[in-house]
Amino acid sequence: MSTFVEILKAIGLAVLVFTFLAVVGAMFGVYMERKISGWIQARLGPKHVGPQGLLQTIADTVKLLQKEHITPRRADALIFNSAPIIVAVAGLLDWVVIPFGQVGNRFLVVRDINIGVVYFAAMASLTVIGILAGGWASNNKYALLGGLRAASQMISYEIPLALGILWAAMIAGSLSTVSLVEAQRGGWFIFKVPPLGLLAALTFLVAATAEVNRVPFDLPEAESELVAGYFAEYTGMRFALFQLGEYAEMFAFAALFSVLFLGGWDEPSLSRQWAWVWLVLGAGSLALVALIQFRLRHVLLVRPIFILAVMAAGLSLILFFGVMAGRAQVLPSIVWFFVKMFTLVFFLMWMRWTYPRLRLDQLLSLSWKVLLPLGLLNLLITAFIITVAR
């Protein structure tokens, strides 16, 4: 009987996580990306469907759902049709080990398994099979080139990624995501063993950006060279599934980065005599807001910074008054999880629309000649330090 209940639970959670991803990950992610790219390029972005274009992605999804599925004539139909499902499911499975927060003594995580981060890396590495299969099955030279680029890129960047994960796991002494967050109660790992923590976080972030195929590492789908890369031949909902998988993966990596280095759902806590730091931060952000609002011309280019400053001011002031009122936990943990995740997602989008793409040889030498030695040395030195300090 318990097996039956377990299976029902698994189905329910899968539906929940999938809905969350489809709504937050793909729909809101695409909207955010289009809006931010618009601002960075001094455009307005989507504006017409819904208030401020909020319903644009829903309209697009409805459009994609109605479209015809086209399978190219000489494509391998079976592999062609299953490839988007592999990508989407792999992106979905990443979320099993991501902890969203804590309510009382219960952790909001689908399953806290004792090899959490290894599981995450394993599921993330499955995506490339879907990409490679889709690229090959399309029977299109651009798609095949995109798939091959994805394969070489992901194999190269998996190693620095694993080194970054290992660094955090080594400090925490555990592979489970929940205990990784618990271990950061006293201080986030990004500030541990300075500056090595920052270095490990940077290694991980660069590798994660490459792993989710985003600029400056978006060679598999480089529009100007490969049309759209591995999904050039896909139409309708299959194309949308590729997009869903990609955004799910990006959000998952942002969430994992916050779990590994930014304390996951933990609130950045300062004791009462340090509460003025929040006030200073809040005042600074408010000053920035005022400067942009009244001094500069309110051009679109500064709008991302403006919105960030407004949010930072709000958060800092809430924290300041919360700490002054003597509350141990000012905001619920799930809010912190989303704040950290969306900040990282914003950072990734900012990078995407700011930097040009690398060349393939630059991309590979960055991984093998810079990130890999750096990550290994970092691991070695940190291991030495914590062994000596113990």
Partner: protein, 164 residues
């Protein structure tokens, strides 16, 4: 009961794609069919409570080895989905070997008294226990294996460079 059902499903998941691997005329399909097989083996590891090995199995075999296989296939001439013959004139030999192996296995199975005695709990397969074992009892084996892998890596680079 749940365990038996899981075992049956996983066995089918391993065996059916495995047949495709050795019979398909399309070499890319063969390579892709390895993925469900390897994932099924992962399922067995999970059933045996060896989660760490399961994670590594997916990471290395499904995630890296298969991708490497596909990569190599697509970079060579077979990448066009060439029709390949997977059988050659050694069928009689192969059949003989298979029959003998099956005979031996059946012999072993029938001679064993089931269930094989299970005293106490299975050993802890946690990452911690595996790491400790590697660094204490099996440190020599571990280091020699690393050395072999390093040598093969260097050898591959030397062979690749000679062609330039």
């Amino acid at each position: 009961m749940g365990e038996f059902a899981a075992f049956t499903i996983l066995s089918l998941l391993i065996l059916i794609p495995a047949v495709v691997v050795v019979t398909s005329k399309n070499i890319v399909r063969s390579a892709l069919s390895l993925v469900p097989t390897l994932l099924g083996v992962t399922g067995f590891y999970v059933l045996l409570q060896a989660e760490f090995v399961a994670g590594i199995q997916v990471l290395i075999y499904a995630g890296a080895i298969t991708v490497l296989l596909l990569f190599v296939i697509m970079l060579t001439e077979g990448g066009a989905g060439l029709q390949v013959r997977q059988v050659n004139e050694q069928i009689p030999l192969g059949v003989t070997a298979a029959v003998w192996l099956a005979f031996l296995l059946l012999l072993v199975f029938s001679r064993t008294t089931w269930p094989v005695a299970q005293r106490g709990n299975p050993p802890a397969y946690s990452a911690l226990a595996i790491g400790n074992a590697f660094m204490t009892d099996y440190v020599l084996v571990f280091e020699v294996t690393s050395l072999v892998l390093l040598v093969s890596l260097v050898g591959a680079i030397i062979i690749a460079r000679r062609e330039e």
